[in-house]
């Protein structure tokens, strides 16, 4: 069932077994899994089916620290969330991403890739991919003649499913799901001890408001709005709900994205087809270049994933270099006439100083706006440079080509115009110890019995994979748990 919250009678509270805050990939996936179950579900979405300026303005915030695009531009408030404006890149997190790596402080999840694997397979179906996500997997040998102990080429799947469009009928047609549009959660209402929620206070831009009383509340509002709501819900716990250890909003991670190299193939005939988007098993995919787990361990660096994202005709010097490399390598065919850019998505190490907090200013609904401070660590830049240095050497060792590095030894900082992938992670990180994480392994907020988080806010580390597949997998896993816990 679907309702416009602006037309509900003010003050009429709703009751549910599960209240989901946010109808993006996580929230919709969760609702779909709960559809048809005996549980009554309320799905709150701040926006509607179309974006509007007033709703977008609710996401506006202050940016401090490293440059970051305006928040209202990188988050899509509306049914479907940011899947309404994404390029559909899907890849499971790598097994090493879950491990506690001694060279990355604060790394390590309380779950493993294997734990998540069955849910990744189910999540893949939501994107129209075969179940399980077809091979090649994370240790796939590179198509280039590189040492597979150093660099691997897992498949990146491209399935830009717009959850709002694709699943609108399924969600609104579910008899046990009430989807409320233009319904912004503005407070999590806790009991006197702060040990459980009694409900969610909801407001609309039309001036109305109501509460949802629920046995379980799931925050699925993304890596910025989820900590915002926890921090702003400070009536009982003054530091914010679930924030006893001052962790909510900290460890904000992005995937720094930049062209960090250009590949000059040794020959125009170098087999690069796998690195280009192509039809594959009923979907579209392309291979990536990424360091192997063995190399990451040996070099004690963080990961990156590079797509060969474009190509350019060669200037004079590079044309000369292409000719000489082709000749030295006795490569087949003709010298390459093009260089290919390596667009990198880099793993950011968890950093407590990188954070989301509340600003003084409030939005139209009275909620404090967000202040985002995206901060990178020296190891982030070191890892990118070291990884590309090793890739350059491996390409040369294999006679496959040469790599041009965009960041030279004298470049001590990232480019000023560095952007992130719009992947907001880590702000309610997962850890079994409440002193080190906001949610436990089941994504339940420590100390708040009936409050869970769905989405990339729970990521303990970011890896280099685009997060959406893992987000949906975690949401499906949470749905299974809620069905077990809340079964009549």
């Amino acid at each position: 069932m679907l309702s416009d919250a602006r037309r509900l009678p003010a003050g009429r509270d709703l009751e549910a077994d599960v209240c989901i805050v946010g109808a993006g990939a996580a929230g919709i996936a969760l609702a779909l899994e709960l559809a048809g179950s005996p549980l009554r579900v309320v799905l709150l979405e701040s926006g509607g089916f179309e974006r509007d300026d007033a709703t977008d303005d609710l996401a506006r915030g202050r940016i401090q620290g490293r440059h970051h695009p305006p928040l209202e531009e990188v988050r899509a408030r509306g049914f479907g969330g940011t899947t309404s404006a994404w390029d559909g890149r899907l890849r499971p997190l790598d097994p090493i991403d879950f491990e506690a790596r001694e060279w990355i402080p604060h790394s390590g999840w309380p779950i493993t890739a294997r734990d998540l694997e069955p849910f990744v397979a189910r999540a893949a179906r939501r994107f129209g991919l075969a179940e399980p996500v077809p091979a090649p997997g994370p240790e796939a040998p590179p198509a280039l003649p590189l040492d597979a102990q150093a660099f691997v080429s897992p498949e990146l799947w491209i399935a830009p499913v717009r959850f709002g469009e694709r699943y609108r009928a399924d969600v609104t047609g579910a008899r046990n799901v009430d989807a409320l549009l233009h319904a912004s959660a503005v407070e999590l209402v806790a009991n006197e001890a702060g040990s459980a929620l009694v409900g969610v206070r909801v407001a609309t831009l039309a001036g109305g408001g109501f509460a949802v009383r629920a046995r379980a509340v799931v925050l699925a509002a993304g890596g910025i709005e989820t900590p915002r709501l926890l921090l702003a819900s400070n009536r009982v716990q003054t530091a914010g709900l679930g924030n006893g250890a001052d962790l909510v909003g900290r460890y904000f991670m992005e995937h720094p994205q930049l062209v960090a190299g250009a590949l000059l193939p040794a020959s125009a005939e170098l087999p690069l087809g796998r690195y280009r988007p192509r039809a594959n098993a009923g979907a579209e995919s392309m291979a990536l270049l990424t360091p192997s787990a063995a190399l990451l361990r040996r070099e004690r660096v963080q990961s990156f994933a590079a797509v060969l994202a474009g190509e350019a005709a060669l200037p004079d010097l590079e044309r000369a270099l292409a000719t000489s490399v082709h000749e030295l390598e006795a490569a087949p065919g003709a010298p390459s006439t093009r260089a290919l850019f390596l667009l990198n998505s880099c793993e950011q190490a968890p950093n407590p100083a990188s954070r989301v907090r509340l600003a003084e200013e409030r939005d139209a609904l009275g909620l404090p706006r967000v202040q985002l401070e995206w901060r990178l660590s020296p190891s982030d830049l070191h890892s990118l440079r070291r990884g590309h240095d090793l890739l350059a050497r491996e390409l040369g060792r294999a006679g496959a080509g040469r790599l041009q590095l965009m960041l030279g030894p004298g470049d001590m900082d990232w480019p000023a115009d560095l952007v992130g992938g719009g992947h907001h992670m880590g702000t309610t990180r997962m850890h079994e110890d409440p002193r080190r994480g906001v949610v436990d392994a089941s994504c339940r907020v420590h100390g708040v019995a009936n409050l869970w988080v769905a989405g990339s806010a729970v990521f303990a580390t970011s890896g280099s994979a685009d997060p959406t597949l893992a987000i949906v997998a975690l949401a499906i896993r949470l749905a299974d748990q809620l069905k077990r816990e809340l079964a009549p």
Binding site: S324, L328, A330, A398, G408
Partner: protein, 151 residues
């Protein structure tokens, strides 16, 4: 597929087969030749009479497309404040394999090309690289391209 030896290999062979000191040089420099004979007898290296080193010549002619190699080599050379000459660059490329490479240059130019290719790849493996306009290149190929530029 391995490419057949091209013009570069043929030129390298011609360089290698050329005598180190031509007849005219010997005839025109009798005094030096005499000194060379003494030096030979004493086991002293023949710097004065060495003329163009066959290995140096072969390396300078390594690339068939000399203009292309020269363009990159000039960039490499620009990074060298001391501006070493061809002999020094030849020594840098040859390292401790000068005898082996010289023999290959004279006897089997395709084998010389293969040896230099392998050496270049090993440079990458061992981190013997330099960055030229952002490109990570092996020391060996840099040396070869500089030699083309110096020719």
């Amino acid at each position: 597929m391995t490419r057949a030896p091209g013009r570069g290999a043929r030129e390298a062979r011609a360089q290698a087969e050329r005598p180190a000191c031509s007849r005219r040089e010997l005839l025109g420099l009798g005094v030096v030749a005499g000194a060379a004979a003494l030096a030979l007898a004493a086991g002293v290296p023949l710097a004065a009479c060495s003329g163009p080193d066959p290995l140096e010549g072969a390396l300078q002619s390594f690339y068939a497309d000399r203009e292309a190699a020269r363009a990159v080599g000039a960039e490499v050379l620009a990074q060298e404040p001391a501006k070493p000459g061809a002999a020094e660059w030849t020594a840098r490329v040859a390292r401790d394999r000068a005898g082996e490479l010289r023999e290959l240059a004279q006897r089997d130019p395709p084998a010389l090309a293969a040896a230099l290719r392998a050496q270049s790849r090993d440079d990458f493996a061992q981190g013997r690289v330099r960055v030229v306009r952002g490109w990570v290149l092996s020391d060996t190929e840099c040396g070869l391209m500089v030699l083309a530029a110096l020719r």
